[in-house]
């Protein structure tokens, strides 16, 4: 039988199949467009997730990016050293497969941090070109398609609305958090989480069998592109999904529009695919890296980089975290990463000595090796005692807004290459002093919560060796082409068939996990994209 004839020119090429890419693929195929999706990672199966153990998957192995090479330095004066730093996923569905699924709307002021708090020395604060009111219906859509579970009240901003799924059942440790925060006068509410608490929209309810965050869901109770958008897109017959396709260059035509994406397949063979429109959704690191590799006479500093801002203003939050030992057994190894949260301390208040803020969530070490990694350098009887305490160690985690800094960036390492001979991406990053003050403040507040809980002892923990999976900022949106890479529709100011729909478009990071905002923003952009296409404004 002859192989299916491959199209000569697709309507859209989407690069990256994570939170943003998955939405674009779903919405554009639904609108009748032909889409080719190029994903550098493999396509994992539910059987893979069922069988995953912690060592196969250790802090983001397997589907996550086992061959990822990157280099890291704190400032331009240093030479970047090889280090696997980013806790990102690289598979069909991206990081949105292994995520913890906490799903938040950014607060109104988090879209307007510059207007709210004014310029901060050494930071490049900017307002988003959209606001909370414009984003609201898209958040509604994102919560509905992702089946977010939560209580009647997320926070004071949305009284009376109900989430698509009811809250998850509590675990034995939950009452400890609840009592402690209420004692301090805070108002806990169920953490909104994109995991079905019952069967919803043809996906199963959570089996509460644990191994959730950092693992794929074997029953699709946890929302992800492979659970939600990609199956629908494939069913249209209009999606050509190509896993293990490593895009290394976007080639332009004589008018400066993108003509083709060049990629290497799993065997290292070169391919080229043509499309009318190109959507980058490779993540804040991957999308910027690709643009910087796509140099030409017209774009000497990288495609669509006339502003010089591609790769700059890299953010990834600060994660203040405290563990505490308590006589109540946690059962944190069961269920999804849910529980409750408090936002009473979130609002930006310069009187605290820093600006911006963080949400604080109930959490638990959930698996043995991850828990053991928090033991520092302990060994001997002290290590054994630390391991023995696992059932009794509760955790508090904050998602702290970090400030964009012009010098924090991703670019091409001048020395190190990956297995395909491509320059690896180089991360240059040092937290602004405001970030460190913010982190210290919330660590102190969490220790107060632990004390109010009646903890036997509490201690600050570095959950992730300083890293996170929440990369943002490298192709910021804005109205001024000299101060931004993308316009308010995530379309390049300079290359009119280029869109970037991942966390890279965020001008500021907000004090919440970013994924629901990436999904909602992608719905907003997809809606615009389809309308423009129908008006024949996209050639």
């Amino acid at each position: 039988m002859a192989p299916p004839r491959r199209r000569e020119v697709f309507d859209v090429c989407v690069i990256g199949t994570g939170a943003g890419g998955g939405v674009m693929i779903d919405e554009l195929t639904r609108a009748g467009m032909s889409v080719v999706a190029l994903e550098r990672g493999p396509r994992l199966a539910h059987a893979d997730f069922m069988a995953h153990d912690e060592l196969t998957n250790i802090i983001r192995g397997t589907g996550f990016a086992p061959k990822l090479k990157e280099t890291l330095r704190r400032s331009e004066t240093e030479t970047a050293q090889p280090r696997h730093f980013s806790m990102i996923g690289q598979c069909v569905g991206g990081s949105n497969v292994h995520w913890g699924a906490m799903s938040w709307r950014l607060r109104p002021d988090e879209f307007k941090a510059l207007s709210q708090d004014g310029p901060v020395e050494g930071a490049s604060l900017a307002d988003w070109p959209v606001d909370a009111a414009e984003m609201a219906p898209w958040y509604d859509k994102a919560e509905a398609t992702y089946g977010v579970a939560g209580g009647a009240v997320h926070n004071a901003l949305r009284p009376g609305r109900r989430y698509p799924n009811p809250p998850h059942p509590p675990r034995s440790g939950s009452q400890v958090f609840d009592r402690a925060v209420r004692k301090l006068g805070y108002t806990p509410f169920p953490t909104p989480i994109a995991v079905n608490s019952r069967p919803y929209r043809n996906r199963a309810g959570c089996t509460n069998s644990g191994m959730c965050v950092m693992f794929g869901c074997p029953v699709d109770a946890k929302a992800s592109p492979i659970a939600v958008g990609l199956p629908r897109a494939l069913a249209t017959g209009r999606l050509d999904l190509r896993p293990q396709a490593l895009v290394h260059e976007l080639a332009i035509d004589e008018t400066g529009r993108i003509r083709a994406a060049r990629y290497l397949d799993a065997a290292g063979a070169q391919h080229e695919v043509r499309a009318r429109q190109f959507v980058l959704a490779g993540g804040s690191l991957g999308s910027a890296h690709l643009l910087l590799m796509s140099r030409s006479g017209r774009f000497r500093d990288g495609l669509a980089n006339g502003s010089g801002l591609v790769g700059r203003n890299l953010m990834y939050h600060v994660l203040p975290a405290v563990y505490y030992r308590h006589e109540t057994v946690t059962r944190g190894w069961l269920g999804p990463v849910s529980g409750q949260a408090i936002d009473d301390l979130h609002a930006s208040d310069p009187a605290r000595g820093f600006v911006r803020g963080a949400v604080i969530t109930e959490s638990y070490p959930a698996t043995p090796i991850v828990y053991a990694s928090s033991a520092g350098g302990l060994w001997g009887a002290a290590l054994k005692d630390y391991l023995r305490q696992f059932n009794h160690v509760h955790a508090l985690i904050g998602i702290g807004e970090d400030l964009p800094v012009h010098g924090n960036r991703v670019d091409l390492d001048p020395t190190h290459k990956d297995e395909s001979g491509l320059p690896v991406w180089r991360i240059t990053h040092a937290h602004h002093a405001n970030d460190l003050k913010l982190k210290a403040y919330y660590e102190g507040k969490m220790r107060e919560i632990a004390t109010a809980a009646g903890a036997e002892r509490s201690w600050v923990v570095d959950m992730t060796q300083g890293s996170t999976g929440h990369f943002m900022g490298t192709c910021r949106m804005g109205t001024d082409p000299e101060k931004s890479v993308l316009d308010r529709w995530c379309r390049s100011h300079e290359v009119n068939n280029l869109w970037v729909v991942d966390g890279g478009c965020f001008p500021t990071s907000g004090g919440y996990n970013p994924t629901l905002t990436i999904v909602a923003n992608a719905y907003r952009v997809a809606n615009r994209f389809v309308r423009e296409a129908r008006r024949l404004n996209l050639r």
Partner: protein, 210 residues
């Protein structure tokens, strides 16, 4: 902390020389072939076993010795961590040589207090007569410490955590996806959760989800 002390502290902290974020399927394959040594010579295995036994000791509960951490390390050094085998060989020989010079016996034949003294000095990078060139003493210590933890807590298919002693110590019931749904009562501890290794796949916990 005084600045000079902090600088010295940062310099002496050991660096783990095996990848922390690497899946190890080949280690599982090596372990599946049996518990015969594949990387470590008998004297090396003895030394590894003795070091592991100090890192996670046996007290009222099983430790690294019962878990078979040395077996895990032996298999890992034949597989994903093969690049570290020359370092292990050199470091183990160095340890035994200096123990013989200083105390008249190899590491495994020293009493507990002396073993811990040697390891403490390794950890701090202050071990006299450390003549291994491939790594500092503190880096080898950080490496074998991490390997011991993996051997103690990884799924038993990798050759360690024998009889799930690591998971039993921690009160971790193992991977539960294949044994079915956990109920709200079990989330609260009102009903027990049987560990994965005691429940045949598919039997469920009686109730599934509502």
């Amino acid at each position: 902390m005084q600045q000079p002390d902090r600088r010295n502290f940062v310099k002496t902290v050991g660096v783990c020389l095996v990848a922390m974020q690497l899946p190890r399927p080949l280690t599982a394959l090596a372990a599946a072939r049996g518990a015969q040594p594949v990387s470590l010579a008998p004297a090396e295995w003895r030394c590894v076993e003795a070091i592991c036994a100090e890192i996670i000791p046996t007290d009222g509960d099983p430790g690294a010795a019962e878990a078979g951490c040395a077996n895990f390390i032996d298999k890992a050094l034949a597989a994903e961590d093969a690049h570290a085998l020359p370092l292990y060989r050199e470091a183990l020989a160095a340890i035994d040589a200096l123990c013989v010079d200083t105390h008249g016996r190899v590491f495994a034949d020293l009493d507990g207090a002396r073993r811990q003294g040697v390891l403490k000095a390794m950890e701090q990078g202050s071990l006299a007569h450390w003549n291994a060139r491939m790594a500092r003493a503190q880096d080898f210590f950080a490496t074998i410490r991490f390997h011991t933890l993996l051997g103690f807590l990884a799924d038993p298919k990798y050759g360690g955590n024998r009889d799930h002693v690591g998971w039993k110590l921690m009160g971790f019931p193992g991977p539960l996806h294949m044994v079915g749904g956990v109920t709200p009562e079990q989330m609260m501890g009102l009903q027990p959760v049987a560990p994965a290794w005691e429940t045949p796949a598919g039997d469920g916990h009686g109730g599934g989800h509502r």
